[in-house]
């Protein structure tokens, strides 16, 4: 499913983020509520994508620790938005698994009352189309 594109390239494409715009201010990591849970910190996402090292990124704990709270997206002064990158990385993983988009009727069985509300909202926002 790679169409000859590297995974990092796919992440860039899906997220629409230009990682070159990052000025390494760290505002994303400063804003992140899951910072301590993450092995790769939000501000580092950018350099992983930039260095074409998507593998480490998609295999990181961080990928699934991001709450999609959008704090980094809201506050990034350079329009880099690491949250989008992480979301893009997740999608490449999901696509690779062949597990395509979730059908609406499949959602209820996945619902876990412990899931953070924000994640659900973000998921719906992302997958509604």
């Amino acid at each position: 499913m790679s169409y000859g594109k590297s995974q990092a390239e796919q992440i860039r494409e899906i997220s629409g983020v230009n990682p070159h715009k990052c000025m390494k201010c760290g505002k994303c990591s400063a804003s992140c509520p899951s910072f301590n849970e993450m092995d790769i910190k939000p501000h580092q996402f950018v350099s992983y994508v930039l260095n074409d090292d998507a593998e480490a990124l998609v295999n990181s704990k961080s990928l699934w620790k991001c709450l999609s709270c959008f704090a980094c997206i809201e506050r990034c002064p350079r329009d880099v938005k690491p949250g989008k990158l992480i979301d893009g990385a997740r999608q490449t993983v999901v696509r690779q698994r062949g597990a395509d988009y979730l059908m609406p009727e499949e959602i209820p069985e996945h619902l876990d009352p412990k899931l953070p509300q924000q994640l659900l909202v973000s998921a719906f926002r992302r997958y509604r189309r």
């Binding site: 201010c25 990591s29 400063a30 704090a71 002064p77 329009d79």
Partner: protein, 665 residues
Amino acid sequence: MSRVQRIGVFVCHCGSNIAATVDVAKVAEMALLEPGVVHAEEYQYMCSEAGQAKIAEAVKDKGLTGIVVCSCSPRMHETTFRNAAERAGLNPFMVEIANIREHCSWIHKDKTEATKKAVILARAAIAKVNLNAPLKEGESRVTKRALVIGGGIAGIQTALDIAEAGYPVDIVEKTPSIGGRMSQLDKTFPTLDCSACILTPKMVEASAHENIRIHTYSEVEQVSGFVGDFTVDIRKKARSVNMEKCTGCGVCSEKCPAKRNASEFNRGLNNRSAIYTPFAQAIPNVPVIDRENCIKFKTGKCGICAKVCQAGAVDYEQKDEIITEKYGAIVAATGFDTIKLDDFDEYAYSQSKDVITSLELERVMNAAGPTGGHLERLSDGKEPKNIVFIQCVGSRDVTCRGKGYCSKICCMYTAKHAMLIRDKYPDVNVAVFYIDVRTPGKNFDEFYRRAAEEYGVNYVKGQVGKVAPQPDGSLLVQGVDLLDNKQIRTKADMVVLATAIEPEAGVRKIATMLTASIDNNNFLTEAHPKLRPVESPTAGVFLSGVCQGPKDIPETVAQAGAAAVKAIGLLAKDKLLTNPCTAKADELLCNGCSACENVCPYGAITYESREVNDHGIREVRRIAAVNNALCQGCGACTVTCPSGAMDLQGFSNRQIIAEVDAICR
């Protein structure tokens, strides 16, 4: 082509510079075959006195009407030969240069080829001169008075420099006093001298200078005219206090019952009365009545200030007055303000009184400020123990929240604040979150390092993501230390935001009035980013201070002086010679479509309704008119004009086509 030219061609050897590679005799010989050429000769050094004499002689003997000099670059000697022609009684613009040195002999080795090329270059110049028309430099008078818009340190310095050179200057300042942002500052980097101590004498000097008139509480209303001859309407807002009668005793402010109005000077950190002088050293030391908040103006009752004024200076009937003045030069020195922080909610600026901007901190630390210079929290008056400074708040931010540029001064003033606090209150911990520390400037980096090394200021490479006010009154600061790759959660008692600066709000309106160009960030644009940094592209308009781009005080003062010199240079002239190579519209061809007006960078083209006689048909048409004093002769309009009505004198369509034809022949 109605007139037949009598052209003389003069081929220069330039020693062996040209003659070694180009057969100069052959060039002269071939030139004689060209239409219009009645004389051709060659000489060792055309630019020498003897060479110039040869030109004069030929003009006289052969009745020349046009001259072609085949020599070095026109950038070198065009003026020389034009002057020579003028002395010989010819119009100087009847001279053209064929550049056979830089563009020929110096770059070619083969003599045959180089000679052939030189002949062609000569032909092109001859073809052009055949179509040259005498041009006359226009003259426009210069009003020997300058206007400075803005009475901050930039405007004051510019005005003082112009006044010292002997020219009258008017300062228009929209607030009640001159002094500007610098008057709000406590200490200045990197020497830590007191801002007021160095500014106040300059304010006094300006107000006492016989060549300077200060219009405070006034705004520029309208500007017309052009370089050397601007006409400006200035609105003098009603002060409600008679400037002549007021003695500045201050009793009115003291007795005024309407005391709860946010003080602009103290950035709203404390209150002032409705009749007020912004600060103690204000110039003029005459209060104004803030009519919106004055009880007398709101309800008609009160009038206490008038009653207590022994001088009888309070005048509720005073009206705005519009004065019209003439100026030769205008200097914009409109300054800056800090950006609004409404969109930066994560720093809790609107939620906590203990989150303040750096400019507010200046007031807090100032002895004349709301806390009498005592460093304290504005919420409870307690001395803070932990202070966090956050850099780049809104600067270098390309989203719609902030400004894409670096505000330039924040790194240094933050180092200053941190150092001053550590010096005066050694128990207070100070941390600075930064992205980069930028300290290019004399003694700047040393200053910053002193803050870190000698004063123990904790510089953290990283940003703050969130400031959360806690129930106990403290502030929880969540940031990141990128070098440690750790998130930091720390409690602070005070957070200071290095807020981005932006040009003062009214600058766009002023730029429009001045037809000065302005960029997307509302900074006024310079005529050339490197070579003409204090001039606006609009002739006669100069730029001083932060209105052109972020600057610190020494830079502002330097630029203010530079702008003054440029203005003085203009005022020193009795008359301005205008470049005669300006655009000219043929009224019979003009469609009135405004295309040219849209591309003119100088606003030199306007449209007027004019009656024309088009081969017997008389009608009123919309026609382009070029102001020769404003036109710089770039020619953008000539190409955008579909009908060819707009042409450039000295570089006309037919002249250039003649050159093209001669080269391609």
